[in-house]
Symmetry: C2
Subunit: 212 residues, 2 copies
Amino acid sequence: MQVVVPFAAESPKTRLEPVLSPDERSTLARAMLDDVLEAILETGHEPTVVSTAPLDAAASVLAADSVSVEIDDRSLTAAVDARLPAPGDDPVAVVMADLALATPTALKALFTSVADVAIAPGRGGGTNALVVSHPEFSVDYHGGSYLDHCAIAREVDATLETVDSFRLATDVDEPTDLVEILIHGEGRAPARLRSFGFELDTDAGRVAVSRR
Amino acid sequence: MQVVVPFAAESPKTRLEPVLSPDERSTLARAMLDDVLEAILETGHEPTVVSTAPLDAAASVLAADSVSVEIDDRSLTAAVDARLPAPGDDPVAVVMADLALATPTALKALFTSVADVAIAPGRGGGTNALVVSHPEFSVDYHGGSYLDHCAIAREVDATLETVDSFRLATDVDEPTDLVEILIHGEGRAPARLRSFGFELDTDAGRVAVSRR
């Protein structure tokens, strides 16, 4: 199985602007990418990062022999679609680079699906990760992609599984998402956030983050 | 195994005030309770609703012989703590009444845990459902209860499992949570929301709800 990890190299994570500087957003995005790559490697697969621009591999999981990087500046939909399986090809998994809570166990539940299309939905109707083995399936990441992908699978008569995982449902886009990294994260991303001065604030009903 | 479903009967779901009237909030809360009870019944267990006030059982799952209702106007923590297992007792599960996406499959993954304490965390560090078989464990639902419950389990030397489920992680507290009901819900709650005029708005990046 191919495992593709799309990565937006330029000005990543703009919705975190209220709480993080551009440099910090970039550092956090790379830490999350490293955490995701490491979780994929632990499942026994060799990920391919598809980046919109070249990345400095120094001091990162990108430097590992088992990780490859391809540059593709097309839209997410076009770059992923170009890598989906043709008839006879192995299945292709697509895992978003901001799934900071991804673990090998959670990914394995997705990777071992026997459905033609298996989707781990994100909060708000996104598609955080999927595995495609049906040659006629295509992606469309615009708007509410989870429901769109379910519809596309039905159109091409592909069997469909929705994988129920909080870890895979949690992509990091907005300031409130940082809470989940500090509570459940285990890798570089929570360490980076703590080095930026973030800590949990448990006075509120739902836990919040505060910054020293 | 006992399955306890705490329910706040008076002015439920106040954080939905910006988008729902008091009557609508109450109707939605009862619809979610019914959906949760039905999912529990389908796992083969007979739930006990612990309500802060008497509930009208007409036209609801509460009228089923296999569902009991107890009135307890204490705080959530006190009402649950009083029902946790004493030495020699069967395990006790506690499932929040607003887990509108709960399915029998997701609940079974929790109910069949062999750990002394199994927790399905909610978004924002809450405790959405748990199963307790250790007689010294106690609950504290104030603030970030997931981390507190993990700490309490460690203090009493209980083995701990965290159950990774998006469906169980999704409690319905805030307007953006309604999106998840419309995308993934299968029972009364999505039907009620649609009857109130809500529909998915897929123009945004994350799917939103709009109201006719």
